[in-house]
Symmetry: C2
Subunit: 133 residues, 2 copies
DNA sequence: TTAGATGCAAAGGGTTTGCAACGTC
DNA sequence: GACGTTGCAAACCCTTTGCATCTAA
C-alpha cells in the first residue's frame, strides 16, 4: 500500500487542511457527507467531490484511516494508530475500544499462510449503552 | 438481530435453493453478481433483483454470512461458523484462515464497556501468495 | 385460496470522474 | 509557468424497490 511515489507532488490546500482538522477534532468516525457539511461552515463553496478526493489522498498519505462496517457507506478515522472499534447495529454509532491490539499475530498469520500481511482489523458488533436498554 | 419473527412465512423456491447451493459449493466468497451469473446457468430467467432479495433473506435466516471488506461491494459466505478471513489488496481475493477464534473476548468487551456484544470480526489485509511475488 | 416470491425495469444513493478554471510551489 | 487541486455536474455502479404476475403451501 505504499503509494508515496504518486504523492510526491501533493500540495497544501485549505480544503484538505480543513478536512483533516475536522477528522482530528471528532471521535464520531463520520462519513464523507458529514465531513462535507462540517467543512462547509468554514469553506462554503467546497464541493462534495473535493471531500471525496481529499479523503482518498489523505488516506493514501497515511494521515487518516478508512473504516468499512456495512455496505452502506465508508467511515473515516483521524486516528491512524491501529485500534479496535465497536459498531452499534441499532444507531450505527462507532466507538473506540480500549483493548490491546495484538501486533504479533500479523507475523504469525503471514508465516503460517505464506501471505504478506500489512495489518488486520478487529471490530465488535452489538448494541451500545444507549441502545441496549 | 433476531428477525425470525418476520421469516415465519418463508417459502422454499428453486431460486433461493440454487443461490444457497452456489454459495455452499464455492469458497471464493463471491458478490451478488457472480452468484447471479452462476445461478443463471441453471435458471436462465432469474433476475439480479431476486438474487439480492434472496441473499438478504438467507442472511436473515442465518444460512449465509455477509462480508464487507471494502466500500465497493458486499461478499457472501456459505460458511456460517465464525472464522477469520484474509483479503488480498491486489487481486481482491478472500481466503479463509485457520486461526482459532477467541469467543470469550466478546463477553470481556461487553463487560468492560457496557455494550451488548453479538459478535466480532477479525480480518487480515495484505498480499496473497500469488500477488506477493 | 392467499400471502410470499419472482422478473423486469426504474429508482436510489454513495462515490467517482471529466473538464475548465483556479491556486500552489 | 507547470502541474496539482477545485467546483460543478454528469456518470458510475452496486443495491433496492414498485408492481403485476406467478407459485408454494
Amino acid at each position: 500500500m505504499n503509494k508515496t511515489h504518486v504523492l510526491n507532488g501533493t500540495r497544501k490546500t485549505k480544503q484538505r487542511e480543513a478536512i483533516l482538522k475536522v477528522l482530528k477534532d471528532t471521535n464520531c468516525h463520520p462519513g464523507a457527507h458529514w465531513i462535507y457539511e462540517k467543512v462547509r461552515r468554514e469553506i462554503p463553496h467546497i464541493s462534495l467531490g473535493t471531500v471525496y478526493r481529499d479523503l482518498k489522498i489523505l488516506k493514501e498519505m497515511g494521515k487518516i484511516r478508512e473504516l468499512v462496517f456495512t455496505g452502506n457507506m465508508t467511515h473515516f478515522d483521524g486516528i491512524t494508530k491501529q485500534h479496535i472499534h465497536f459498531y452499534c447495529q441499532k444507531c450505527n454509532s462507532i466507538s473506540d475500544i480500549e483493548e490491546p491490539v495484538n501486533m504479533e499475530i500479523d507475523k504469525s498469520v503471514a508465516a503460517k499462510n505464506g501471505f504478506k500481511v500489512y495489518c488486520h482489523r478487529m471490530d465488535f458488533f452489538g448494541l451500545c449503552r444507549a441502545c441496549r436498554s
